[in-house]
């Protein structure tokens, strides 16, 4: 019905996603808070953590890993989550509470176009940010980028970004107002960074903390990305089980988002 009534002047839906994407990117890049927390802060963490521990080595699964080699995949995990999850939850909660989402739903633009565009925006930022992290690691700290496992690393980045986008749409549906989005999300994600090997290498964590972390997707994404940088890895470097657990979390997020996601303000 809708297709037959769409006038010939209408952009195709695929072009409409591109149209929306341009503005969604502009919205983030022009927002000082998004710029700092999503793009600059992960880079600060990379420089800070590699400098703090110097040329320290960590023992992971019985072999020594150079400090900077450990933190490039670790901060990549943080970068993916900062763009696809933290920033996404905060922006969609804000846009929902400000009535922006409701107004967009009053126009003929299909809901899926808006969701696809916003998720793609996060994914693009995640990929660019991870690329910058890897390049800084290579140039500043001489981190070896193993060409044989690079496809596995890229796969991990894409799966991680997609899964955390789904989780973001689910999480936003539980947050009632704009002001509480930032503290709630940070309260959830910061402890997970610490127990999942993002900030503190796993060889320094107790087994209890590691067990708790293994329930959540942060640790598994971190393990999957680390595997690609681990000099001991042989073969393609695809961490099947870890990625499957991340996918499962993403799928659960998607189901919850489909069930609960709202376009109208929740606080009145």
């Amino acid at each position: 019905m809708s297709a037959s009534r769409t006038a010939p002047g209408q952009m195709s839906d695929a072009r409409l996603v591109g149209h929306q994407l341009r503005y969604d990117l502009l919205l983030i890049l022009r927002d000082p808070q998004s710029r700092f927390f999503t793009i600059v802060l992960p880079l600060i963490f990379l420089v800070l953590l590699t400098s703090l521990f110097g040329n320290h080595t960590h023992f992971i699964s019985g072999h020594a890993i150079k400090n900077s080699t450990y933190y490039v995949p670790g901060i990549s995990t943080l970068g993916i989550i900062a763009t696809s999850f933290v920033n996404l939850v905060i922006t969609i909660t804000g846009q929902r509470e400000n009535g922006v989402l409701k107004r967009r739903r009053s126009t003929p633009v299909p809901a899926w176009v808006l969701i696809a565009s916003r998720a793609l925006t996060s994914a693009i930022l995640a990929v660019v940010l991870v690329a910058v992290i890897v390049v800084i690691g290579r140039i500043a700290y001489g981190v070896h980028i193993p060409s044989s496992t690079l496809p596995a690393f890229a796969l991990g980045v894409v799966i991680g970004a997609a899964a955390f986008c789904c989780l973001a749409f689910a999480a936003a549906s539980f947050i009632r107002n704009e002001d509480s989005a930032q503290p709630i999300i940070q309260a959830v994600i910061l402890p997970l960074y610490f127990i999942s090997g993002v900030f503190v290498p796993k060889d320094q964590l107790s087994s209890t903390l590691k067990d708790i972390a293994s329930v959540f997707p942060v640790s598994h994404l971190n393990d999957a990305l680390f595997k690609a940088f681990d000099p001991a890895t042989t073969g393609s470097g695809i961490a099947g089980t870890h990625l499957l657990i991340v996918v499962a979390w993403g799928a659960a997020g998607l189901i919850i988002a489909l069930w609960r996601f709202s376009w109208s303000p929740q606080s009145s």
Binding site: H19, S106, T107, P108
Partner: protein
């Protein structure tokens, strides 16, 4: 198909027996409405009377409990893309994307529609020509509201919902918004306006409907609402210095002092004989009667009478 270029007078909105309950409490208790093409239809009512609930049902943002609703011939609960392209909405409270300029914001929304109006034209229509390159976050409240209105018009809709569009406007911004809304009528658009400013309703409305506690209590034009056209005239004036109200000629009927002032009001069905009696009395005694005013009850008086009585 009801689409562009339909006849004036044809129904654009038809509502019968509309009901809406939240948790067993009825916010809308069976209302009937008919809005014709090309009119500015004004929906008045106190806060909590069911105004916004009704508007949200008509806009397709809320599912009703019961009743028949047709907007542009379609049930808004089954709105498709064509329908959404024909309906412009100014929500009661919504912010515009603060990081985009006025022009970028309009270009974004223009892309959603099959046949949008020119961005420049709409910017000029809402009076934001000088601010078009400013980011929306830096605009004043009234200017942001104009962007809201611009976004509702960019798709060149047949029907525009304006939910309290001038709240927070200064008087001159209000005037220009009225001119703009009046311009929509000249373009043959249908406007569904909710407001709580009586002067706004009086300036714009072709027809007014008043809702109170979920039921419609009155319908009419600004001149006829609530029997305003049959209500007695009110003749008011200031009493000459040192003259008591009891000294007025008896032929004037009942006179009362207006609250907290030296003004006197007389209600009369026939203005000329009353004025003749008054002026004969004043001339004879050499009094000056100042601030003389003859009018029907103000729309606000009628509205307050309709919505406050038997509360």
């Amino acid at each position: 198909m009801i689409g562009t270029g339909g006849a004036v007078g044809e129904a654009v909105i038809e509502v019968s027996g509309l009901r809406m309950s939240y948790d067993g409490i009825e916010a809308v208790r069976g209302i009937d409405l008919r809005v014709s093409r090309g009119e500015i239809f004004t929906f008045l009512g106190p806060n909590g009377a069911g105004k916004t609930t009704t508007v949200e049902i008509l806009e397709g943002h809320r599912r009703r409990t019961d009743g028949e609703v047709r907007v542009l011939g379609v049930d808004p609960e089954h709105a498709d893309r064509w329908w959404r392209s024909q309906v412009g909405v100014v929500l009661q409270s919504s912010r515009v994307e603060p990081q985009l300029t006025v022009r970028e914001c309009l270009e974004l929304y223009a892309g959603y529609y099959p046949a949008p109006r020119s961005v420049q034209e709409v910017i000029e229509l809402v009076g934001l020509k000088k601010r078009s390159e400013v980011r929306c976050g830096q605009l004043s409240g009234g200017q942001q509201r104009r962007v809201d209105v611009a976004l509702a018009l960019i798709g060149d809709p047949e029907l525009v919902f304006l939910d309290e569009p001038t709240t927070g406007f200064d008087p001159s911004a209000r005037r220009s918004a009225w001119e703009m809304i009046d311009g929509l009528r000249r373009l043959g658009k249908t406007v569904f306006l909710t407001t709580h400013y009586m002067d706004e309703a009086e300036a714009l409305a072709d027809r007014i409907v008043v809702i109170k506690a979920g039921t419609l209590v009155a319908e009419g034009t600004p001149a006829t609402l609530g029997g305003r056209d049959h209500a007695p005239y009110q003749i008011s004036f200031s009493l000459p210095r040192g003259v008591a109200i009891t000294e007025l000629p008896s032929g004037l009927g009942h006179a009362r002092v207006l609250d907290g002032s030296s003004k006197v009001v007389i209600e009369s069905a026939e203005v000329m004989p009353a004025l003749q009696t008054l002026s004969a009395w004043a001339i004879q005694r050499g009094y000056e009667v100042s601030d003389l005013l003859v009018r029907r009850p103000a729309l606000e008086d009628v509205y307050l009478g309709l919505t406050e009585s038997s509360k």
